[in-house]
Symmetry: C2
Subunit: 148 residues, 2 copies
DNA sequence: TATTGTTATACTCTATAACTATA
DNA sequence: TATAGTTATAGAGTATAACAATA
């Protein structure tokens, strides 16, 4: 009888694929003094155009306290600015600085190389499938676990 | 100009797919009083047949101190036993107890349902591709980062 | 002297709770 | 009274370091 190894389990595969990506990303992103995650926050700020901190947190699936910490660091390094919304001063509108924009340009180059290297073991034809499958899973889970 | 959202980044997709799986797994596995991860350890013990703690740790990609903690808990619950190897008493051979075997049988049922539900958003034809792609990535990274 | 396993400790990531301010 | 943001704290998961036993 053949026993299924833990190595073939979905949980193991997802965890270690994630860890492998993070490890490779840490190497590559070292050159620009920011993490892949931080660049993800910047990208979301750019895509959303002046989100509040809470909107940003909800979009990225993190707690607002975690977002506050991330933004503290990004702001201290001059990558984003926080501006109180005049019509509702409880909200901080987050926007990219010039440095933030510049960093995103460098991020794009690094990420292209990172993804290329990370996905190298997967046949070219299946790389898009991998991405779309993950996308489908993540979108399903995220939309079904939203609080009303 | 259209900006790429952070939500489409590989790191984000992998992380949240992993978190979604863990969240769903935590629900399902609650019924048997063990985690998916613990069942993965049991499965690896079964597949390897009497591994030492260190072998087990290396195979599963965790630190030996982490493995010691995992095994402490599994042993206390009567799921595995540790036996010093007579020819090298530094090594503990890990083996499944009857309860450990029984739990693995229940794990198989739970995992089938869990995977089915988790992979539901992915077309059936692409589910195997997702698994094989992750497998290729994880195996590549793991074998290339082994210490000699 | 090197290896296996154990224990104590520290670090990272993240969330919960309590607080301030604004509405 | 509810919401946005901040701060302090705690928890999970993991690794590093020091140690004991064995080789």
């Amino acid at each position: 009888m053949i026993y299924l190894m833990a190595l073939d389990r979905m949980g193991f595969l997802l965890k270690h694929a994630y860890l492998a990506y993070e490890s490779l990303a840490a190497e590559k992103y070292d050159a620009i003094g920011a993490t892949a995650r931080e660049c993800g926050v910047l990208a979301q700020v750019q895509a959303t155009e002046n989100p509040s901190q809470l909107e940003l947190a909800n979009e990225l699936g993190v707690d607002r306290t975690t977002m506050a910490q991330l933004l503290d660091s990004l702001e201290q390094r001059g990558l984003v600015s926080r501006t109180p919304l005049p019509t509702d001063r409880r909200k901080n509108l987050v926007s990219l600085t010039k440095s933030g924009h510049d960093l995103l340009a460098r991020d794009r180059v690094i990420r292209a190389e990172l993804d290329r290297e990370f996905l190298a073991p997967v046949h070219t034809a299946e790389q898009a499938t991998l991405r779309s499958s993950l996308h489908a899973i993540v979108n399903t889970q995220r939309t079904s676990s939203r609080t009303p």
